[in-house]
Symmetry: C2
Subunit: 659 residues, 2 copies
Amino acid sequence: MSTDPTRFAPMANAIRALSMDAVQAANSGHPGMPMGMADVATVLFSKFLRFDPSRPDWADRDRFVLSAGHGSMLIYSLLYLTGYESPTIHDIRNFRQMGSVCAGHPENFLIPGVECTTGPLGQGLAMAVGMALAERHLNATFGNDLVDHKTWVIAGDGCMMEGINHEAIGLAGTLKLGRLKVLWDDNRITIDGDTALSTSEDIPARYRASGWDVFECDGHDYADIERALAEAAMSEKPSLVACRTIIGKGAPNKQGGHDVHGAPLGAEEITAARTALGWTSEPFIVPEDVLADWREAGYRGAKARQEWEARLAADPQAAEFERRMAGELAAEDDAMAAFNGWLAGDANVATRKASENALNVLVPLFPELVGGSADLTGSNNTKAKNQAPLTADDYAGRYVYYGIREFGMAAAMNGMALHGGVIPYGGTFLIFSDYCRNAIRLSALQQTRVVYVLTHDSIGLGEDGPTHQPIEQVMSMRLIPNLNVFRPADVIETAECWMLALQSSETPSVLALTRQNLPQLRHEGGMLSARGAYRLKSAKAERKVILMATGSEVQLATEVAERLESQGIGADVISAPCLELFEQQDDSYKRELLPDAAHILRVSIEAGVTWGWERYTTTDGLNIGIDRFGASAPAKDLFARFGFTADSIVPKILDKLST
Amino acid sequence: MSTDPTRFAPMANAIRALSMDAVQAANSGHPGMPMGMADVATVLFSKFLRFDPSRPDWADRDRFVLSAGHGSMLIYSLLYLTGYESPTIHDIRNFRQMGSVCAGHPENFLIPGVECTTGPLGQGLAMAVGMALAERHLNATFGNDLVDHKTWVIAGDGCMMEGINHEAIGLAGTLKLGRLKVLWDDNRITIDGDTALSTSEDIPARYRASGWDVFECDGHDYADIERALAEAAMSEKPSLVACRTIIGKGAPNKQGGHDVHGAPLGAEEITAARTALGWTSEPFIVPEDVLADWREAGYRGAKARQEWEARLAADPQAAEFERRMAGELAAEDDAMAAFNGWLAGDANVATRKASENALNVLVPLFPELVGGSADLTGSNNTKAKNQAPLTADDYAGRYVYYGIREFGMAAAMNGMALHGGVIPYGGTFLIFSDYCRNAIRLSALQQTRVVYVLTHDSIGLGEDGPTHQPIEQVMSMRLIPNLNVFRPADVIETAECWMLALQSSETPSVLALTRQNLPQLRHEGGMLSARGAYRLKSAKAERKVILMATGSEVQLATEVAERLESQGIGADVISAPCLELFEQQDDSYKRELLPDAAHILRVSIEAGVTWGWERYTTTDGLNIGIDRFGASAPAKDLFARFGFTADSIVPKILDKLST
């Protein structure tokens, strides 16, 4: 297919017409970007992108990420026009309405052809870095026959200006991810107006400074677009193609201005656009010849896909490749057997160290695990023995030095998980979950299996002081839907939580781990953490108190319980490594742990904010926590200062029992 | 004072000795950076920085920001050596211990000479951008006589690699903040090892691409440092000085490696360092001649400060300048009078629009207000009528186009507030509080008066879908200590919340505002929002239900109450615009609103997660909320789908009452 404008212009105009009509029908949405990038996208999908609409799950397809997710009508148009089963024209007609898969921003869980959820600016491109990284890693592992594809991105000025862009392109440049190709919609318009209002940056120079190649084209000249994309495709470096475009191109009176960015064009301007574009079809009707050209573009990849399937069938690694891409685990029993060996021990280690010990078991058993840290390897204990670095010189390695790029790391891990074939985990200090919080949220929304290893999980980190001491982070992450926040109490729970994290194929996990040592509390197996909370110790005397604690405070709860028992007050200790899993238990189990007896005092102990614990302790209970910022001092002094000692807690309980 | 090494080397070595000894005594801390940057800091504080240790609050002092806050012993040493009252040598001896102002990271609320709290990487430099912006704005307002100073920053590779660096330098470059001078500790080491492990970036090229000047020097050659700083000081552009240094310089066996970054040197290496440096004093003892040289450097600024004071005394704007720098408000009564005029109205507007209306009152009355938005001006409604843009061409303007830089904006606002003389407010979508969450936390920790205008505060934003719909954000920000999260219910509460935000001089505020219209519920004044929650409507029939709601759900609560009353069930409606302020009320007020009566059902209604509401509704209550991600559809359909209608809620209440 040549880039003959007589053929390409109607194809691009089909995108423009669908976009402006869908936004108009919804009376909401963003026509500017799809209309501006219609020409570039037409060349990309017709001549470069390797895909097969009949098999959106083809493992060796090129990945396409619409980082500027507000321009969702661009990808919906492209998927429909090239012949994907989803979305249908009915979905597009119902753009942004309840029940339509054509949501305001593209959602990976609604449409198989959407590789990732985009909308939060900058993250699409950063996820694409993870996809390109996964591709190189799997290529190094399984060879060119099975894995040999590119990752293409369309990004706008918002994606360029966000801080995460710096992290993402720095990581891609350092890892020399030459299969990553970013098409920048250089339209010089943001919501507030001309880009000059807020930026004076030379973007190509910045990309070059990070080791990228940069190409440029007129984003409305098909031959020029084809030339630039061909040059980018040939480059061995990650590449930026600056596509000079006019936002809203085709809307004669509004194009080029910021009003066309995020509002319907209006009936009058749509009429004018139809005239200007020579588009005579009714809304949502694509002329047969134009649709046929698009479908031909869509058929392009079928042959390559079939050839790939033949290669896969003949490949000795086929079964392993398919297992990994399906995300199925193969070594759970071996791992549990190894962990059961720990029950007889008496480890007194920080849970970050317990996590390292777990990784020393898991990394060899699960070749799909790819770890890393945002420059805190020795502090997060994220690197297993003999885990080779994944570098530009050795993509087969399995440990990524992400650099001081928490947000970039988290987004890259999302991209890796979405690409498939790897299970990413990565570490930083728990406090810096704040830096990557929206990527953690996107893990949850996108249902990716990403494991966040977040150490130094309370004032127990000590001297670094309040900027580094999480106070509200554990509870605040519990509020994110579809995210399991684990805070294990000892070495055994840490191993259990790691297993649960690996087994949660559609739910990301946070492991909140201590810097300080914790005694081993468990000597029995049974994967008790799977229920989220369980009775670690039953009252000996008549039960008057239930102590519910997590992580480092479980040992404190047992100490408190012993003191109470010594005074004839029976006290249960409930360890609650994952409140989200506890919430999923049936009522009878919950009532078993937390019976509805008015004479039993419920007490929570967690070295974080108390808000939220009333769910379990009731408003008549007692919540031991810290509702202010911490301080800089040795951990022991801080725990004493903030009341996390049996000496401080027992009198409070006695006082409460006596009222 | 010339840069004669025989004089400067002992001065720099005093920093080295104090730093290694303090870290050793604490058995915790970071010696590498203070030792590596000791020479550069000595030249800066002896020859360039304009300051007077006897008056850390001198308004026209240069600001110095240690962005690489882990190197806190550098600033503690400098403040002590130059003669500040705080910290004392006793504080330094107790580095990182309970009660010492020499915390692990520098804290602005502990030491007057510390301009801002640093430690979370990248934010120090980004706050410095705000300080430099405030300086130019006040210079344009009050003239060279009163405001004419620089902002100096020491930053490390971590600050360079973090995404916020991109946002910060882009903003500084666009606004041409030529008084901002960043000294980069170019030691080529990060925690994980050589910087090459994780970055291949040409940092100077990137800074140049953002409109900065770049200079370089040997960070251990005093004359070369002086030359480079002089060149940077002369430049009219924001400037980066790449100081090539050896991390831990002076520790002969450990310098230049990553082990020296964040751990004590150990007794043996300290002995070796003393020998190598020719430092014979006991720990924490600075020889008299060296201390005298340092104190001389400290006296340098006294004359300039006295001259400035004389100028201030003679300046017709002195009183206004001092009022602004003291952060005192002058127009509260006028503002309240204007807002009281609204009580008689019947506004049906979104609270984002109500906020704009409030700004139209406040911006003219409070000249210290400087607003802005992260490229969502028209959506956040943050720009008041006739509010001129603050640009490189007109620093007297009062509206900043921050660009698509939420984190950079939030950090810059912290810097502006810390600089003093301005009260910053800035807007983005509430969901993107995730992008700047740690800066919001630093507002709270640093006790800055920053107002976050966060619009589109629930599924009520409609079609943009789950990536843009806050679900957990409002509750999660309530968990941050010393942050007031306001969610006003109508135009009157919005005005009240704005006033409360302005009056909270040591507590930052979030205003969570709707996209959708809300009816005016209040026609009486009284600043009822000041108590955080209040009874908006009392039960007519016997009180059996208390409905507690915030923001857009207060109107829904009143509708539910009316339905209940029509069935003879008395229902109070409590509007709770700020739960933090409600928490601060005395028990009798709390009990008045929420009496301890077992037969009264408490119901919360908020279009966000329910977790946390048990604090008010007890575990026997009913929490109406949304504990999953949202969806893309018109707001009305979403509220219906997720049960935010009287039709859905009333039966649930009746059901609960009948059990």
